[in-house]
Symmetry: C2
Subunit: 215 residues, 2 copies
Amino acid sequence: MSAVQPLRRQTVVDELAGVLRTEILNGVVPAGTPLREVELAGAYGVSRHTLRAALRLLAGEGIVEIEPHRGARVASLDRAQLAGLFEVRTALEVEGARLALARNGGRLPARVHADLAALAAATRRARVAWSTVADLHARLHAGIVAAAGSDRLDAEYARLAAELRLFLLQLRPVWTLERMRTHHEELVAGLEGEGPEALRRHLEDGAAAVFAALD
Amino acid sequence: MSAVQPLRRQTVVDELAGVLRTEILNGVVPAGTPLREVELAGAYGVSRHTLRAALRLLAGEGIVEIEPHRGARVASLDRAQLAGLFEVRTALEVEGARLALARNGGRLPARVHADLAALAAATRRARVAWSTVADLHARLHAGIVAAAGSDRLDAEYARLAAELRLFLLQLRPVWTLERMRTHHEELVAGLEGEGPEALRRHLEDGAAAVFAALD
DNA sequence: GAATGTAGAATTGTGCAACAATCAGCGGAC
DNA sequence: GTCCGCTGATTGTTGCACAATTCTACATTC
């Protein structure tokens, strides 16, 4: 028998958490929105206990905040928290890139180049939804980390990326399409040319742009 | 008024999770032990829901594993998972050290030196419990990360450190006291002399020693 | 009028009991 | 020996109840 699927059953709590996560990460429920238990439990037709379990799950992922007796709300980050998030992201992504390059003889796998091409192509289209570009962008970065071949690193990075996405939802795009394209073409070239430090520079640029947009 | 305490109330779930966490991380409940709901709920005098919430919390921290309809058990890592854990740890800790050095003019703060001195002193004592050395060791590494001054980085690192500790509980010490001392004296000197790459080497040595002990 | 205090509503935290869904072990049929 | 179904144990989910806490609006005091 060939490699079977992980085959993990979906419990109601997981399913519910999945739906809520999707809504939150797509901006349907804006950051800071209070999540009332009876209201949501009724809306989704589940018991309050089940809903609470789902909220706790999402709180563990960082996209929901729970305060005792004050309820849950969609997480929102202040500037300092965002800075911390960027620091951890940099740590994971730079190390991921380092491992990826070390394990592939200084090159990045085909998937990363394909992702870059897809992103570049999108930025050249006359009319393209920003969300499409954002998704391709996120995919490129995740692909670089994935190239390290570490499931655990992937999982941690995905968690952070979700949190980051939640925050960036509130923000207007900070880069033009052209700048998005050139920056990432330089990134991939820089990674294969000079190594993982190119990624650090890239991320620092991005962070600076985001913080500048906050003022 | 000066900076007030965070003042966070303890809910029963948090309290319970704290007790369970302590027991697990101290090896009172060995890795792999099944955690039955009715049994534990009865033992701690809480409702099954409360216990389940606590278990979910610990599952989010990675020290408990939950499989649908099969229950919770104290987490246990196989070799591959341990390798992944080390990769993420290296990512966070090296980046933490990098930030710490960059933000302190290439030096490490007094606390780190004090932690090193405490660890060195312990390793010179005639009779010392290994757990004492292990705690001082963990404190030194956490202190290096903390020197970066990033709460978020600290939190993520603490989470990983707990998981790692859970695993290492099953292992006999891989280093002699003397090697523990010299390795960490070299580490601190190396960090201030050549920079964060010294930490990467240090961690790679440690990982190699752990994996060697597994065979 | 602003600060303070207070009653009631709204919301969350926890418990109890029940039942459905699933799993684990065991003995019988072939 | 392997497969099958049975049965008890365990988890998943629900509903209701009530305590604890927070929130809101209003009244009181200075």
